[in-house]
Structure formats: structure tokens, C-alpha cells
Amino acid sequence: MRRSLILDTTVRLVFDSAVVLSLYLLFAGHNQPGGGFVGGLVAGAAIALRYVAGGLAEVRGILPVRPWFFLATGLALAAGTAIAPLLLGQRLLDHAKIEVDAPVLGTMKATSALLFDAGVYLVVVGLVLMVFEALGDDAPKPTVSDTKDVKP
């Protein structure tokens, strides 16, 4: 696959920012626009950029784990967060929250809903990776039924 230098460089710059943005959306989601689903989609879009620049090999090179790792971890995290309250004698999906007053950062609040949302995030990212894995390798030639200007 021939690579474009400009695209390559731009994508590398944008990719990290996009991933940071997606994480921001994930963490901010409980109080501001965002959330695990949107965050995952933004991360997916970032991955799509890497795909455009370098194909499936580039996507596979982002992380040392395969896509189903994300799917499994995400689902386990979300399901675990949902079930954990049952083990503690509460109802399914009851969320706990803690507030911490840190000296410099101010009041920080974390709820277990964030873990659930992180699971959603991972599943969405895994889904996008899986789709690239499934359809993203070099395509076979299309069946020629319109004979005019078929681009491989």
C-alpha cells in the first residue's frame, strides 16, 4: 500500500488528540455532554483515521491486543459493575459514589457508573476494531456487472 506522507503525519498528530478527546468525553460524560458511547465512537473515528493512512496493518499496530480483548473486557466490566451491588446486598445496577477533596484539584467526584460507562466505551471501540478486522483487509475485486468504470 502506498502511503501519503502528508496524510501520515497529520493523522499521527490528530490521532492522539482524538483519543484524549474521547477519554475526556468518557470522564466528563456524567455531568457534561459526552459519555462512554460518544467517547467510544470518537475513539473509533480516530482509529478510522489510522486505517485511512495505513490500512489494516496500521490499525493492528496501535495496540498489542486483538479487538476481541476490548469486547470481552468492556462487557465484563459493564456486567461486573452491574452485578457487583447484588453481591453487596443492594439492587442490580445500584451505583456508589465517592467524593474526594484534593488540595489543588478541588472536589473530585467519582461514581461506579463511570466504570460501567468505561465498559460501554471499550465495547464500542472493540466493535469498530472488529469491523475493520472483518472488512478492512484488501478487498477482492467487485463482481463486474456494470462494465463501465469499475474501480478496484
Binding site: 459526552g34 459519555g35 473515528a45 462487557l75 452491574a82 472488529m130 472488512l135 463486474v144
Partner: protein
């Protein structure tokens, strides 16, 4: 199933279960023999009336002795029968599971729990008959058994539900103590009987039992003689004292039982395969049991309890002997058996004793049972005399095929002309034979010491029917039953002596058609019907699927809209001036997409519709939705591109003019419907929207200010969990489909290579 490394030693571990149950039963036997019972109850699904209610009374004790006593011996026997194959470990596991399910069945006091155990025995039996799944005959036989017994089981479940709803309880003890009445009860009972008939291999559902003989012999000895086939008998025995007079119960049970007894005996006479002979003999004896325990008369019930125990003992022993012969001589066909030399004497003794008990010769357990059965019917009216005649014919046949079995083992030259002498089969070791010896000893002991037998049987019968009692003696004096027994043995012996002529008559009269053919035809018909239906419903054409879905969506709720007064009036279409350019983008993109000739263009135009929607969300003040919509649209376009690379560049235009018009019509119908539905739904609100409460509760309950997110992760968290599970499944499915389409056929999978 674990146990691969243990090989056949797994049977040692598996045997612990039935042995423990046996010891527990023996420990508690004194509690229940005088009419008491042990009761345990754990809630399971209280809303359905489903609980783990176990009730151990004297009849359960009888069944428990059969299930776990013979179970323990079968495990010991399997140790000698199976070589060290990994398959043996799996078999031991399933056999243990089966023993547990069967115990649950006979101890359950809850009809629904009984049904669960009932189906568990069907499923484990399927696995046991099917073996390791490499033999197509075994698979077919397993499927036959599963289909017949589980269809019967479903009928039975319907019967249980009808009974339970009429009685207001699913507790068997309460239901039988205070039986429901009403027209539905008779129907329910017939349904329950269908279940019992299929499970206990009664005509015309018996075909699966002889077919199941492809299973390894330890399995046959346990499932198809002692345990599983007794499940139907057990259920009938429980119900009969209370329900025998309701509806068609008594005539139905007696007729089916007698037909089964006689027809099974006739078929057993014609089998050369020892195991097949025993299988049809079992069918016949099950018919006998069905009559005795199903007729609902105290004396017959007691006789049935006696036969239940006696049959379990002699039939399991005979199966074990046949398995030993098969194992040592590598054939079960009595016309091909090699000489069984000196070392075979103990085996032959066991076989003769057990067969004699089957033929009801004194002083064995089978004799006592048969005698009390005759005794139960000699004093009654015309109906009882008819039943007596029926079971006598069946018993005569039993004597004849028992003789045939013994002759096949001891004096094969009686049955076939002399053949070239084959090498003698090696005699079995004593430990291999030991379980069968235990059973044969029990057969003799119960016959010679009728007091123990009487006590067991009498208590068991009393647990079923308060007025029943058992009075088993070897010698009653010169009574009518004794004369009838003598007549039975003589007539059976005569049948055996005249076997060539009998065989000729049977061959001439044999029906050209059997119930197995009917089963095969039914399965073939079902498969063909399924094929035709699938061909019609699943045409494989994506446009047709989409058209059907859209038309259904438009027509079904659409009719409701058209018929009702639904139009709330035009809503405020243009609220803000910004709506106009956004709407123009949406409508323009959608219309343009229908005119696009290239797939890529169409995808981009659809994308613009999506972005338009996102803009609309922005205008409405829903940043979260807008953000999500933007991200989704962006990714969708990328994914579209991935797929479009594999498709021709342009749309195909090969549909005829009519098809084109039809497509426009379907699309228009769907569009108009969605538009009308949106307006109607928005105008149909009568309650406060749920979002009001959610908005109020988001911060205090959900701990977040972003309402959409709080809904997603908290208020509707379970939905989200379900949705991401669907996402995972879809991702795995899509990947598998995409790869399956591309992997060259026959090439090994990447992971396996």
C-alpha cells in the same frame, strides 16, 4: 465433560452418587415403611409455584432402591465393560447426571420440578444413546428417543398445568389428597398419560426403546430396563388410585398396557439379537406394569409394586449378562454365538435364574409378583376377567421368549442347525460378573424370604393407596392363581416347543408396516415441510426482506391509525427560522439519494441526512444527542466505504418497470406511515412524560448532571447492558460472516493451522 484423564476410573467416582443415595435411603427406610415421609422444601420460582419440594415416602423408597441400587451396580459393571477410552469418562459423567435426574424425579413432590427432572432424563438419555456422535445409527436412535419422549413430555406439561390451575397447587401430595374436578381434569389426565406412555415405551410410542439398544449395554441395563422407562409407570402409579375413575383413564391405560404387553411379547419371540429380544421383552413388561399400576385397584397396585421391583432386578441382570456375552464373544446374535465353555457356568446360572424370574417360576421374585397379579384379578367381574385373560396371554408369551433366551445361551443348537465350530469365547472375570450375581441373589432372596419383599411392597403400595396391602407367599395352597400360573408356564413351554410353527405363523401374519415406519415418515414429512416453508419465507432476496419488513410496519399499526380517530391537527412545523435551511438539507439529501446512480454518492447523501439530523438536535438544545449523531454518521460513512469497496460501483438497474413501481409504492407507504405515526404519537400524550421525573431525579439519584448519560448508565442501565451485549454479538457475528465468505473452502482455519 471432565474425566478424560480418569478414563474408566471415572465410573468409580460416578458410582459414589447413587451409592450415597442408596445409603441415605436405607437410613431413612424405617421412617417411611410404616407410612411416614421425609419432606424437604426450597423455594425456586415461587411466582410459578415451582419449588424444590422433595418428598420421600415408601413408594419413593421402592423407586430409590431401583434407581440407586441398580445404579450403583451398573457403575460397577461399567468398570468391567468399558476399556480405557476417554469416551468412558464422558459416559460416566452423563450417567451420573442421569442418576441424579432420575432420583429427583422419584423424590419430587412438585409437578413442575418433576417435569424438569423428566426432561433432564430425556436429554441425558439422548446423550447416552448417541454415544460419541460418530455413528449415524446411534444418532438417529438418540433423536428418535428424544423426539418421542420430549413430545410426550410437552403434552404432560400441558396436563400438569391444567391440573395445577384447577387444583390451585402444584404440590403432588396436596393435589392427590384433594383432587380437582371438572371437565378439564379428564383432558389433563389424558395429556399426562400421553407423557407417561411415551416415556414408558407403550404402544404405539414404543419404537424408540428397541432402537435405543445401540447404546452401550450398561446404559441399556440402567436406562432401558430399570430406571428411565419406569418414570412413566411411576407417574401413572402415583395418579391412578385417585384418578383412575375419571374420564377415560382406566379403559385407556388398561387397553394400551395390554396391547403393549402382548405385542411386545410377540415381537420378542421373533428376535435373534439377544439385546433386541430383551428390549421387546421390556416393552412387554412395561405394558404389564402399566396395567397393574394404572388400573387403580388396591390389589393390582400392590402386585404392580412387587413386579416393579422384581422386573428391575431380573431385567438389569439379564442385560448385564447379554453385555458380558457381547463383550467376550463380540456378537449378540444367538445364531452366531460361539460355544460358551466351562468358565461360563456362573454367568449361565445368573442368566437362568433371572430368566426364570422373568418367566415367573417359583421360588423367585417374579413368581410372587405374577402370582399376586393373577390374584388381584380372579375375584372381579367381567372386566377384571378380560384383563386377566390379557395378562395371561402376555405372560404366556413371556415364558416363551424367556425360554428362547435361555436356549440361545445354553443350547443354541436347539434354535439353529449345527454350524462350523468357532473358537470358544473367553469366560468373563468374576468381578465383571459380580454386579449381575448380586442382582440374581436378590431375585432369589426376595423370592425365598417373602416377608421382606412383602413389607417393602406393602408399604410402597400403601403410600400410593391407603387401603392397599401386600400378602406375598410362595405357597397359598391350591388356588385358582396357582392353577393359572401352571397353565401359563405349560402354554409358554408349548409355544417354545412348537417354535418353528409359531414363527411361520408370525411371519405370515406380520404387518407390512410398523410404528417405526410411521415415525420415519413423520420425521421425513416434517423435514420436507420445513424445507418448503423455509424456501418460501427465506427467499434470500434482500429487497424482498426489506419490503416485507417495511410493509408490515406500515400496514399493521397503519390500519390502527386509519381506523381510529387519531389526527391531532398539524403541529407547529416551523418553530425557529433555522429549521428551514436544516430541513432543506434533510429533504434535499434524502431526495437526491433516491436519484443517485452510484453507491458511493448515495452513501454520502445519506450521511448528509444524518448530519442534518444532528444539526436539528443542536437547534433543539440536545448537545449530547448531536454529538453522538455526528460521531455515528462519521463512522457510518467510513464503514459504508469499507463495504462499498466490495460492491460494484453503480446500482444495478435490472428491475422491470412493475418492480420499480412496487418499490416506490412500498417506500412511499413506509414514509407516509412514519410521518403520520410521529405526529399521532406526539399528539396522543395523556400522562406527564417520564422525562420530567428523570430530569428531577438525575442529580440526587444518579449523581450526574448529564441527564442523557444518567439515563444510559443508571436509570436504563440494564437496557444499556443488553445493548452492548448485542453489540458484542453483532461484532463477532459480522467478523465470522465476513471471514467465512472469504476463506477458501477446505482450507484449514488460521488458528488451527
Amino acid at each position: 465433560v471432565a474425566g478424560g484423564a480418569l478414563r474408566r476410573k471415572a465410573f468409580l467416582i460416578g458410582g459414589i452418587g447413587p451409592l450415597a443415595a442408596l445409603l441415605w435411603g436405607a437410613w431413612h427406610a424405617w421412617d417411611v415403611l410404616d407410612g411416614g415421609f421425609v419432606h424437604e422444601s426450597i423455594d425456586w420460582v415461587p411466582a410459578l409455584g415451582l419449588g424444590i419440594d422433595l418428598r420421600f415416602d415408601a413408594f419413593s423408597l421402592l423407586m430409590l432402591l431401583l434407581v440407586s441400587g441398580i445404579g450403583t451396580l451398573v457403575f460397577a459393571y461399567a468398570l468391567g465393560y468399558f476399556g480405557d477410552t476417554a469416551h468412558a469418562g464422558r459416559l460416566a459423567g452423563i450417567l451420573t447426571l442421569f442418576a441424579g435426574a432420575m432420583l429427583g424425579l422419584v423424590l419430587s413432590d412438585n409437578l413442575l420440578l418433576l417435569y424438569v427432572c423428566w426432561e433432564l432424563t430425556s436429554v441425558t438419555s439422548y446423550l447416552l444413546i448417541g454415544g460419541d456422535g460418530r455413528d449415524s445409527a446411534a444418532r438417529a436412535a438418540a433423536l428418535h428417543a428424544l423426539l418421542v419422549t420430549s413430545l410426550g413430555g410437552l403434552a404432560m406439561l400441558a396436563g400438569f398445568v391444567l391440573l395445577g390451575q384447577q387444583a390451585g397447587t402444584y404440590q403432588m401430595s396436596e393435589l392427590l389428597a384433594d383432587p380437582p374436578t371438572g371437565p378439564l381434569v379428564a383432558t389433563a389426565l389424558v395429556l399426562v398419560l400421553v407423557g407417561a406412555f411415551t416415556k414408558s415405551a407403550q404402544y404405539p410410542f414404543h419404537g424408540w426403546l428397541p432402537a435405543a439398544m445401540v447404546a452401550p449395554t450398561p446404559v441399556s441395563a440402567y436406562l432401558h430396563s430399570a430406571a428411565m422407562v419406569k418414570a412413566g409407570i411411576y407417574l401413572v402409579a402415583r395418579f391412578a388410585p385417585v384418578f383412575a375413575a375419571v374420564g377415560v383413564w382406566r379403559p385407556l391405560v388398561v387397553a394400551v398396557g395390554l396391547v403393549t404387553m402382548v405385542a411386545g411379547g410377540l415381537r420378542a419371540l421373533r428376535r435373534d439379537d439377544l439385546k433386541q429380544l430383551l428390549a421387546f421383552g421390556t416393552v412387554s413388561q412395561l405394558g404389564f406394569l402399566m396395567v397393574l399400576l394404572g388400573i387403580g385397584q388396591p390389589a393390582a397396585t400392590a402386585a404392580g409394586c412387587a413386579l416393579l421391583l422384581a422386573h428391575g432386578l431380573f431385567k438389569a441382570a439379564l442385560f448385564m449378562v447379554v453385555g458380558i456375552v457381547d463383550h467376550q464373544a463380540h456378537t449378540r446374535n444367538m445364531r452366531e454365538l460361539p460355544p460358551l465353555g466351562a468358565g461360563w457356568r456362573p454367568t449361565k446360572v445368573v442368566a437362568v435364574l433371572s430368566a426364570a424370574s422373568m418367566a415367573a417360576l417359583p421360588p423367585l421374585a417374579g413368581f410372587l409378583a405374577k402370582e399376586s397379579a393373577y390374584e388381584a384379578f380372579v375375584h372381579g367381574g367381567v372386566g377384571d376377567r378380560l384383563v386377566l385373560a390379557g395378562i395371561m396371554v402376555g405372560s404366556i408369551l413371556t415364558v416363551a421368549y424367556s425360554s428362547r433366551l435361555v436356549a440361545g445361551l445354553l443350547r443354541p443348537e436347539l434354535l439353529t442347525p449345527p454350524r462350523p465350530v468357532r473358537a470358544a469365547a473367553p469366560a468373563p472375570t468374576l468381578s465383571f460378573l459380580a454386579p449381575a450375581i448380586v442382582l440374581a441373589v436378590a431375585t432369589v432372596v426376595l423370592g425365598v424370604v417373602p416377608g421382606v419383599f412383602s413389607e417393602l411392597v406393602g408399604s410402597g403400595a400403601r403410600a400410593l393407596d391407603g387401603v392397599a396391602s401386600a400378602d406375598l407367599y410362595l405357597w397359598h395352597g391350591f388356588t385358582l392363581p396357582l392353577a393359572l400360573s401352571a397353565l401359563t408356564v405349560l402354554a409358554g413351554a408349548a409355544l417354545f416347543v412348537a417354535r418353528r410353527r409359531v414363527a411361520a405363523v408370525q411371519a405370515a401374519l406380520a404387518p407390512s408396516w410398523s410404528t417405526t415406519d410411521a415415525y420415519d415418515a413423520a420425521v421425513r414429512g416434517l423435514t420436507r415441510a420445513a424445507g418448503v416453508t423455509t424456501g418460501v419465507v427465506q427467499s434470500g432476496s434482500l429487497p424482498i426482506y426489506v419490503a416485507v419488513i417495511m410493509l408490515t410496519a406500515a400496514v399493521v399499526p397503519g390500519l390502527g391509525l386509519v381506523l381510529g380517530s387519531w389526527w391531532p391537527g398539524w403541529p407547529d412545523l416551523v418553530g425557529v427560522a433555522v429549521y428551514v435551511p436544516v430541513a432543506a438539507l434533510l429533504i434535499g439529501g434524502a431526495v437526491a439519494a433516491t436519484f443517485a446512480t452510484r453507491r458511493f454518492t448515495a452513501a454520502l447523501l445519506l450521511g448528509s441526512v444524518g448530519y442534518g439530523m444532528a444539526l436539528l438536535f443542536v437547534v433543539q438544545g440536545a448537545p449530547d444527542l448531536a454529538l453522538t449523531q455526528f460521531a455515528v454518521e462519521t463512522l457510518s460513512v467510513v464503514l459504508f466505504l469499507l463495504v462499498l469497496r466490495r460492491l460494484p460501483d453503480r446500482f444495478e438497474r435490472r428491475t422491470p418497470a412493475l418492480g420499480h413501481a412496487l418499490r416506490i409504492g412500498v417506500s412511499a407507504a413506509a414514509g407516509v406511515f412514519v410521518f403520520a405515526m410521529a405526529i399521532a404519537a406526539a399528539g396522543a400524550r395523556t400522562e406527564d412524560p417520564v422525562s420530567v421525573a428523570m430530569t428531577r431525579q438525575a442529580l440526587p439519584d444518579g449523581g450526574g448532571r448529564n441527564i442523557v448519560n444518567v439515563i444510559l448508565v443508571d436509570f436504563r442501565g440494564l437496557d444499556t447492558l443488553g445493548e452492548i451485549t448485542v453489540l458484542v454479538v453483532a461484532a463477532i457475528g459480522a467478523t465470522a460472516l465476513a471471514r467465512a465468505g472469504r476463506r477458501p473452502t477446505g482450507a484449514p482455519h488460521k488458528d488451527q493451522a
